[in-house]
């Protein structure tokens, strides 16, 4: 089973919900797909990491064989190759389509690997954590998210911590999920970004529900919106001093507040049911 935890707005508590749910249900895979700023590991404090590199293919042009015909540059939709007195490749513009390898009449273009990020694996308690880390300055996050999602084990429960937003990295994360948990807060900001994310999820046609975090602040807009749209509110986490203090010390609150462990287990049961009936 695959459960994605998403939000639209940043800082609503996606990672808090994902980590606490993973710890509560046990024997789960937690996959942090927010590869631009992964932080599930900051709540789990892993001791050792198994790390590998994430690469994308890019062209390397053999200047001895290149005749400067410029067929590769003409072909490239992204203008990642320039042919002047010698060929020039722009790695950050290249989208790794592989077209230049195919069109080169001299066979002068070789595919080489370029590292765009890292993949880390670790275990903590009963949770197997995988997270990706995109190198600073890299414009395209998708290959690193794909590498993280490659670690999904269909036989287990997989919880995907999505990046904020509504664009490619979020869609890549949510795609093929059985259920999306939308974490938001009852503020105008939370409401605005939730409504955008709901549009995306409805487009993708994935069963979904809302976890309301920091309940006690803000207004009723989110609840009214959910009622009107028929989106279930699965769990409410209060704006509570103890929860906030534990969070600020990097402690998942289910570890210190066992009644919350039960509530996250119940949340998971509800998700299981809704994901089966939702389609």
């Amino acid at each position: 089973m695959i459960i994605a935890v998403a939000s639209g707005k940043g800082g609503t508590g996606k990672t808090t919900v994902a980590v606490n749910m993973a710890l509560s249900i046990g024997d789960a895979n937690l996959l942090d797909c927010d590869v631009e700023e992964p932080n599930a590991h900051t709540l789990l404090h892993p001791e050792s990491l198994n790390t590998e590199s994430v690469t994308v293919p890019m062209p390397m042009i053999d200047t001895d064989r290149c005749t400067l015909c410029a067929m590769c540059a003409d072909f490239c939709e992204f203008n990642a190759i320039f042919i002047g007195k010698k060929p020039l490749v722009y790695p950050e513009i290249c989208h790794s389509c592989g077209g230049c390898f195919l069109v080169c009449p001299e066979g002068a273009i070789e595919e080489v690997a370029r590292e765009v990020g890292k993949l880390h694996r670790t275990n903590r308690d009963s949770v197997h954590l995988v997270y990706g880390e995109l190198h600073v300055g890299e414009p395209i996050a998708i290959p690193v998210i794909k590498a993280v999602k490659n670690e999904i084990d269909r036989k287990k429960i997989n919880i995907l911590d999505a990046p904020p937003g509504t664009a490619c990295p979020v869609i890549e994360t949510m795609q093929d999920s059985d259920f999306v948990v939308l974490v938001t807060e009852p503020t105008p900001f939370g409401f605005h970004d939730l409504s955008m994310t709901v549009d995306v999820i409805q487009e993708l046609d994935i069963p979904h529900g809302v976890v309301l975090n920091r309940v006690g602040v803000g207004n009723d807009e989110v609840k009214e919106f959910c009622n009107a749209k028929g989106i279930p509110i699965l769990l409410e986490i209060p704006f509570d001093r103890k929860i906030a203090e534990l969070y600020s010390n990097g402690v998942p609150f289910v570890q210190e507040m066992p009644d919350w462990r039960e509530r996250f287990q119940q949340l998971f049961e509800v998700i299981k049911e809704l994901s089966q009936n939702g389609r």
Binding site: E36, A70, A73, C76, F78, N79, A80, I81, F82, I83, G84, K85, K86, L88, Y90, I93, H95, L134, P139, I140, A141, I142, P163, G165, A167, C168, P169
Partner: protein, 137 residues
């Protein structure tokens, strides 16, 4: 014969030069000896990515030795260098007048790339820059 290129807002010698390089409206190629010119519309204008590289490719392929423009971005700059094309800076005026300025030796060479995405957004000197964007194809 010396062939030079001016980035231009129109297809005539009396059109204003275009300060933008990769996203200029036209390239005007001029043969300095004969004074003959031809205007080529910039098909890189509609490129989602790498407009500067594409524009540089067009100029390199045309055989021009010099390009007169306002600002050249961080991708186009090494491309023009690679092709051995001199980049001369002009700020304003018609294509005809900047060519005169060039002939009189009044233009200086562009010594470093300007900001990225100059030609997008709100116009001269207020380029959007490329920082702070979050991911995606």
């Amino acid at each position: 014969m010396t062939r030079i290129c001016v980035t231009s807002q129109g297809a005539e010698l009396d059109a204003l030069m275009d300060y933008r390089f990769g996203r200029c409206m036209y390239f005007i190629f001029v043969d300095l000896e004969s004074g003959e010119f031809d205007a080529v519309s910039n098909d890189a204008l509609s490129s989602a990515h790498g407009a500067g590289v594409r524009a540089a490719q067009k100029i390199a392929s045309s055989g021009a030795e010099v390009v007169i423009t306002g600002s050249v971005g961080p991708n186009a700059y090494p491309a023009l260098q690679n092709a051995g094309i001199r980049i001369m800076k002009a700020d304003s005026g018609t294509v005809r007048s900047v060519i005169e300025s060039y002939k009189e030796g009044l233009l200086s060479e562009v010594a470093s790339p300007g900001p990225a995405h100059m030609g997008l957004g709100r116009g001269m000197g207020r380029g959007r820059g490329s920082g702070g964007r979050r991911g995606g194809y």
